[in-house]
Symmetry: C2
Subunit: 422 residues, 2 copies
């Protein structure tokens, strides 16, 4: 589908033991996609010369561009530079400019340079040095002749990036991306757009949109779905001269069919959309959370500028806290139970009254694993919204593990406000 | 190093476009390591029959066990089942039990079953069905004869898991792990232990422990460090007959050197440790959060049983909310500013007084990106702890992006209580 074949190789024993999350993959794949390249394969292997060599050798047989991450540092498990030099039959020589930079780095910090740091000044014969503005190990980029591992006449570019995130990201954006634009410009236009929906299942979305999009898909539109807790993303992508036209037309069709279920065209989170909208309207919000335990507040306050919107949040797990801080009546609690429509209603109205906010959201439910009954099973939730209108309470059933339950319920609460406000 | 060769293949165009983070890799690699298997290679490819087939074909040539994730759902980009049936030359037949389960799933939810769903009842000839307790698509496990893709006489196991996290995880733990223990038991002892620390940097840890552990590392101990926001994990791993002895000895040495900086021997989060400890002590907690905006409450309430400990949480972004709900004095706010030691102190004492909790934590700071001054730069934080002792306030400086700031600050608050309580 796409002209340029890019492969990504992440090295690190901690990845294979599941001790850390591979955030390089998402970040680099994302950057490449936005620049018009698409990564066709990503591989992770341990810090072992044999595994690294095998992975790079295979990729050189297929790809126009191979990017490795990690293994360039000074410690004994940093093997990438040496093992690839051996595999490619290239010498390693100390680069005086890199050496001088290393020495300056330590001098600036008033520390002596450990001898083993010097290995980071070793550069593969014929490689372009990618300066490291935030650390010691520079990146390297080199062309590998086609006769080496690959038929077809085109050389491959092999790029070695350092592992630490705060070194890798600026090196990619400031040094590698401009280099690639010169030596390996992407073939032609790639357009990718994501429509984010909530409150509707993946298969129902497909039933609604697949037919109307059939002609565009036949023409070359790439249509994808991604379901996550509380939301489904619809991805529209295309490449070539008519890419933008196809994606625009597909967006129009999907928007017409799904309407208010779409909360963003792009990559925004629901909380970001909501903070923007409330800010634009000059409206304020209060929260009364029981089973979500602060998850709604946490998500909203991840958004810069949330302080202009969110006046206060209450996490009222106990009945006592619901009474004292939100003014929920003891009789309502006794008669209906804490997880009930009347309590959700009084929580929302209490939070609004206490804070003077324009809107107040309340959540009460049974997160589990225990606490369910026959009438109110684990997963039962009531979400209330008080505002300048009669208070509304919706009932949901979210029979998921505890963390998913909190995320999905928070999503439903935020979405109730989004659909109501403005 | 390890006897069993396991490979993981994650499918999803959204992964290759960098639209989502691949959390399956870490989780599955982690589970495998704990069961005594080590994943030697992980590959991610797009939702394309050709890419999936190529990746599985290569893995079948090398691995004893191949696990794929994703591509089993009902939509048109779910291709794994069909393309592997074709590649392996096996038929797909509808399994009546799976079909009945699908129908029951929709009936329970009072929704009609979309026709497309039926594809999920199709089972590869000879495959074991792995029931899906949390969704519609079952997993599949099948043996592939050695003559198919691999020399050496051993058949490979090929396992297909569904993509959604809340379906994949329980299926792995409850269904696949017991199956593997029977059909593909791990070769010999692999021991991996993680010591989780907070409040000390990675390089300081290495300076303290690398020397004392040198002999064990020479003998075969694998020592690794993993720095994450607000914590550093020290990983001790070994394989073979003396693995447990080496890891035990290393743990003793590291614990002796780092002492109270270690908050868990194992994989527990700090909030889990804290909820357990407070529960055991029969103590209760209240929270008064400003800049963390509910993050501390959210983390604590991710822990089942948190309701026995957390009486209430206040998210008081505004001065008005600090005064009204926590009793912070207007004069204190005016004289010292909201981000100050006296305000943190009054917030903690106010939350404790309002709720009657044994302990109360308060957090006030400047998350940024705006709001800093010369005297109080973005990243400045005060954390208060009130209890049956004079209230304590610690000052920190966390100059990170907003989400990292919230995580690190929440970690410091939770850790202040951990080090003080019990």
């Amino acid at each position: 589908m796409f002209g340029m074949n890019v492969e990504l190789i992440n090295t690190g024993t901690e990845l294979m033991l599941g001790r850390v999350l591979n955030t390089h993959q998402q970040w680099l794949c994302r950057q490449f996609a936005d620049l018009g390249y698409v990564v066709s394969r990503q591989v992770a292997v341990a810090d072992s010369s044999q595994a690294i060599e095998q992975a790079v050798r295979e990729a050189l047989g297929r790809a126009d561009l191979i990017v490795t991450t990690g293994g360039l540092g000074p410690t004994s498990d940093d093997l990438t530079r040496e093992c690839l030099a051996r595999m490619l039959g290239r010498s390693l020589r100390e680069d005086p400019a890199v050496r001088a930079r290393l020495e300056a780095f330590f001098k600036e910090r008033g520390r002596p340079m450990p001898e083993r740091m010097r290995v980071q000044a070793m550069v593969l014969e014929g490689a372009v040095v990618l300066p490291n503005a935030h650390g010691t190990a520079p990146g390297l980029a080199l062309q590998v002749a086609p006769n080496h591992f690959r038929d077809g006449g085109r050389p491959s570019w092999l790029v070695l990036l350092p592992g630490p995130t705060r070194e890798l990201r600026p090196m990619f954006s400031d040094v590698l991306a401009p280099l690639l634009a010169r030596v390996l410009p992407p073939a032609d236009g790639f357009v990718c757009r994501t429509l984010r929906t909530t409150g509707i299942g993946e298969s129902m979305i497909e039933e609604a949109v697949a037919g109307p999009l059939r002609d565009l898909v036949k023409a070359g539109l790439d249509l994808g779905y991604c379901a996550r807790p509380g939301q489904v993303d619809v991805r529209l992508a295309a490449t070539g001269a008519r890419a933008r036209q196809w994606v625009d037309e597909a967006e129009r069709i999907v928007t017409g069919l799904l309407g208010l279920r779409i909360y963003a065209a792009g990559e925004q989170e629901l909380e970001t959309v909501l903070v923007s909208r409330l800010t634009a309207l000059g409206k304020t919000l209060a929260l009364a959370e029981s089973c979500t335990g602060g998850c709604v507040a946490h998500r909203l306050t991840n958004v810069p500028g949330a302080s202009a919107v969110l006046l206060a949040g209450f996490v009222t797990y106990s009945n006592e806290a619901k009474r004292k801080f939100l003014g929920v009546q003891a009789e309502t609690l006794a008669r209906h139970g804490a997880v009930s429509e009347p309590v959700a209603l009084e929580m929302a109205e209490g939070a609004r009254r206490q804070t003077g906010a324009d809107y107040a959201l309340s959540v009460t439910g049974i997160a589990g694993p225990t606490g369910g009954t026959d009438a109110k099973r684990v997963g039962t939730v009531f979400v209330g919204l008080a505002g300048p209108f009669p208070t509304r309470v919706d009932r949901y059933f979210n029979p998921y593990d505890r963390e998913t339950f909190k995320q999905v319920t928070a999503q439903q609460a935020l979405d109730l406000l989004r659909r109501t406000a403005g």
